[in-house]
Point group: D2
Chain length 408, copies 4
């Protein structure tokens, strides 16, 4: 087994770690360790909230999360010989839970603190906790489902350089300015107060934090892509912007559906990654790369039967016709699936959480048939312990009467 | 083999068929034949242009297609006992090419006549023709690729009722009014002149045509969904709005990528469907259905290795930051893939056509990480006859020097 | 669609065809047509009995089949440039049923006329007929099952040369001599009376027929391999022994389980193959080839849930311990599966036929753990229209009361 | 994570463990712990040799293994309520390597000490060691291959009762008596000297050991089945013969090909299993069970491209024709694959080890076409880091020049 290059002391607060963590992206964050091409190493990671969420039956913690103090990342790691213009080849040799922490959580974030894809339909904070049983998971809050996880890091990428930092800051500032009071906000602008800048000297860190990227969105470098199939066993090709690359990662998911729709929609957990690094010199130019490219894993769970829901780009509240709006079309597909699942006794929150956490596939099926985008949501039928396929009798089965965690 | 319930006389124009075809949706189009639940029957279909495109090396025909004279549908078929509120269960027992017509075509539609997903990048009419070799296809216009098709109808659904007809007309009219002069247009409003209304009496047909839906978009009833996985072997559950259902279909695709991005992006062909029908009484209410639901086929080609491209919702022209815009994110993923393929010698048009026709998967991977949607495009590596995976040497292989068909 | 190179006149007896068929293997059978590398062509084939079996409810025809008048092959086809020592590359571009003949049959052969893998358990002639519904099949004789076929030729290969002919004749004669009176026989020795020798001159045909191979077993050249995964979409590499190769084929199966255990265990049918040929010069030596090699198809039906039965090499009648006998171990696995299926109401014959026809997988799982071979039989659970997995309640479901066809 | 119910002290010899292990099967071995239906627990296991093999470059240890001192099992575990006639439902929730021991080994056993499937071709002791890199493995002794493991216990089952014990002893003694001097032996008869009988009292253990089963073969209860697809994530249904069941397990494999052909053919390792138990009352009778039944895992690595080799039942040394002998047919298929791989520069031993360790599929394809059984061996092409498919150029690639470990 590879040596552990980044160790998390889970009994300490993120601010107090011996190996300094960072929760912002900035070109000048120093490498915590350097590796040679071909090296393998283990990285421990916090859950995305840095331990703010408890394995209990109250959603108060979800309601009260400080969203400026999240995404504590492990890294950055330098790779010898990696230079701007190269591709960093990263094998996710393994990703898993930590022995002492075989559980995860899913939050529906309140409209007033984060929101989510269906925030108008589910504006209140809710939580479900999940227990891991080897390769499988179940929840005491979501009945009659069990599946094998596609374990993956929600967040991984290389440090941006100054040009990319400024480009993204500029475009994001412009969008933010269009509606700075929006709830939930349009985006998370730089915010220095709660920034951790890794091993940066305090003197430099303060200025850097004022311009450092928040970690919420994916950007050209990767970052918080939340791609469920970028999972253990994958090979990823990251653009390199700074000398050494500066690979950082965190926000591990035991499982997630395409879109991660409840925002904290995956099964979130602390965990580890086993990493192998290599370099393709001048790879950005050789392959015309703007964003990361990856090859999925051979051990993703396979399902051969799905139930697929369609959605089109008509707003569900106003009936307004949108123009090829895949966002709305996917939202409608999700809402259609939720209505379906409710017929079997699931609450709306449970159905929402299933779509956020189970290995559902969200597709842009048709994007040219004006004016309707058609998106589809495919649910693997095998995750249910009963038959959810439509038949002439209708949904006679009712799931067990358990509820998700609410606030008090 | 099932009896042929709808026969197309391919040597006649659509207007001159003995069994009348229709190219609009309207509640009052009479059934061409009635079936009992459990019945099986064969349906022949035109290609989506009704024969306007030739198997040759000029894209003039694509440039000149009359887009008001397309989507000649086979049907509507009635099912005894099917009533509004039911679900019509439709098994696509088989879908295939016709023995006399073992070829298909893909068009890039000009900005001035149709357009497509990447219309600003590819504004001119282009065409590729495909030959079928049993389960495989190749093209003299797109080098070094071969794959097995996921044959499916682009267009299938039941007749709308008057309420649904009017609801969609109203919302579409409102959108159209926001920019009626746009090129390409925002949508296709009703247009009576070129309407074929099936077996409707001429006296009634004229009035109906003035309000009948154009066939371009998918809507609540299904219609032109262009979902590649709704393919031969699938079972589909359609909402029933009128007595008997009124199932119609057409626009057969030999293969398509998620999104059908070149507009006429599939491998388009004439062909047949073998259909079996059944009814779930009161199914809409029992299962909470708004749009069709389906179960995919067990014989889709399976691929275990993909190369996946990411895209985020930043406009490629202006650099503008969009808010969770999956349309733009998917466009960026497609553009990233095209740039990659060009490094192997493909022209942009060829790469665009590959993404439109090959069984690529387009996913909404992350839709909550403000402000960036993250979409992914996964290309099965096995469709190429060489290794397209990144390596240290870079893309040494260059594909054969053939070109897509252009206009004269 | 490829031109038809071999046409079967199904309304005539095999002896009376215009294009002469052959039912023996011999080096001197003349080519019926020559092709160039890269050529594609269609081949029509008889069902393996040449039309002796009817789509009815009596197994008399199975009981009475003349087993010396079977396996009427289509070919041999010559490929220009193919010489002894080469590999003939054969793409099975498509394999299918003929429009006028969308049905198939499965026979349990009587101990006194053919026998089968479980002949001591099922010594009487039985039959099941199957209807094709697009990609799916069902049977009026075998209840509650439906699946998509893996359509393949049971029999395909190149003509042997004289050396191979004589080598196999010699070794088979030696085995036959050990027990020439055995019922069923140890093998089928040459038999001239009912031989058809293609386009061979009558004067030569008589002598050749006396030494020509019977078609029953697979041999080095391929032949009657009955490999279910050598199916439509596969590429096969056949050793070439005579100038031009001499590719012949027949015995088309709509579906088969590993082992084809009821002897005529597949779903047997007449049909067609679309073939493309190519040559690898000196391929036998380059790749060290003794028997054919192949690459399976991308469109085999995929199943993700199986129920697997184990068997070990202990004789079920005597309790005798055999030494690493995979034949007996697989027989025990099959018998275990049959006992299981009987608990749901299937008759033994029906269960036997399911194992012979459905896409079950038969594995040599352990072959070194002295003295027991361990073989496994994996049944895809999705072929049943009810849940066959074990649970605490036991098998409450009983299948519909239909029977296989018997003799009168 | 489940509590560890059986802990192995790897720094002690098997004889000296605090929790007593057993290396024989006998009805009277006491349970080490009792569980309730639904309980989950972790079990640690020795590698199958109990630590006799080293991670080095000499095969002396393979040559010298004492085969009477192997298969140290963890258990037996009792389940409350399980009685003879029931089925014990065992979920293999996870199986894996131990953090301190991320390596495995494969041995070719010498003809004079164990032998293997191809013992006449490979009579000398050889060894390959494997390193684990997350979900992947590579070997310094076998070049140019890497794959993800299908981790599974080679050996698992319930204690036999006295009747089964005596039945198997009797039939095995009869076979052994036919050739007691054979090298390698026909089987392993009871042998008391090196028996460990778990927590049995010494006074009773001696007598029991004289009749206890050796662990080499699979039998009705399961045991050393070496089924690669009975892997982590599987559910297994074991017949119960004694009160409480008495579930024991060991011999963990990181990966194995069908047949485990080099005898110690898997990638052997120490490791752990996470187990969940349940009971189906009277399940043996309800489902007609003789041997264990199981459902495979959803996370087996999937491969969509194989190269398949055929073999028929003709002895490779004598040319003798065997009658439907699947053992010989599979041996010929394996030998054909080895000859093929040698053309790329692999030594025979390396090719043999690849077939024993990689996830190759061994099928009984045809078992009724007298006199030849046809077996097939399917190798996933993706395990090689180069293209092994046949082409016109022939195998230009030569693998790296490394060798397996030999004896000194």
């Amino acid at each position: 087994m590879a040596d552990t290059a980044f160790r998390v002391e889970f009994d300490k607060a993120p601010e107090d770690q011996v190996t300094k963590t960072h929760n912002r992206w900035h070109p000048d964050i120093p490498m915590v360790e350097w590796f040679k091409p071909g090296d393998e190493f283990r990285v421990e990671c916090y859950d995305w909230t840095g331990g703010q969420i408890n394995n209990d039956d109250s959603a108060n913690d979800v309601r009260d999360v400080d969203l400026t103090r999240v995404h504590y990342l492990s890294g950055p790691f330098g790779v010898q010989g990696a230079e701007p213009g190269d591709l960093l080849v990263v094998d996710l040799l393994d990703v898993g839970a930590l022995p002492a922490s075989a559980w995860g959580f899913t939050g529906i974030f309140a409209k007033t603190n984060g929101g989510g894809f269906l925030v108008e339909h589910f504006p209140e904070a809710r939580k479900a906790c999940w227990d891991f049983h080897g390769i499988y998971t179940t929840s005491r809050h979501v009945p009659n489902v069990q599946w094998a996880g596609i374990i993956h890091p929600g967040l991984i990428g290389c440090l941006p350089d100054r040009a990319l930092l400024e480009k993204a800051n500029k475009r994001e500032a412009a969008l933010f300015a269009t509606n700075p009071e929006r709830v939930p906000p349009l985006l998370a602008p730089p915010y220095a107060d709660t920034a951790l800048m890794g091993q940066m000297q305090a003197s430099e860190a303060k200025a850097a934090a004022a311009e450092a990227w928040r970690t919420v969105p994916p950007r050209e470098h990767g970052g918080n892509c939340d791609i469920k199939n970028l999972s253990r066993g994958s090979r990823v090709y990251f653009p390199v912007y700074v000398k050494g690359g500066g690979l950082s990662m965190g926000d591990i998911h035991w499982s997630q559906g395409d879109g991660e729709i409840t925002f904290c929609g995956a099964i979130e957990m602390a965990g580890f990654l086993d990493i192998r690094v290599d370099v393709i010199k001048d790879g950005i130019n050789k392959y015309g790369v703007t964003n990361p490219i990856f090859r999925p894993s051979p051990i993703e769970p396979h399902f051969d039967e799905y139930l697929v829901f369609e959605g089109i780009s008509v707003d569900e509240h106003t009936g307004e016709q949108l123009y090829l709006d895949a966002h709305v079309a996917y939202r409608r597909a999700c809402l259609n699936a939720i209505e379906y699942l409710k017929k079997f006794g699931y609450t709306g929150e449970q159905a929402y959480i299933i779509l956020g956490t189970a290995p559902v596939e969200g597709r842009i099926s048709g994007i040219v048939d004006i004016p309707n985008a058609c998106c589809t949501l495919a649910i693997p039928t095998a995750i249910f312990d009963f038959d959810i396929r439509p038949d002439a009798k209708g949904p006679s089965k009712k799931v067990n009467a358990v509820k998700v965690a609410t606030t008090s």
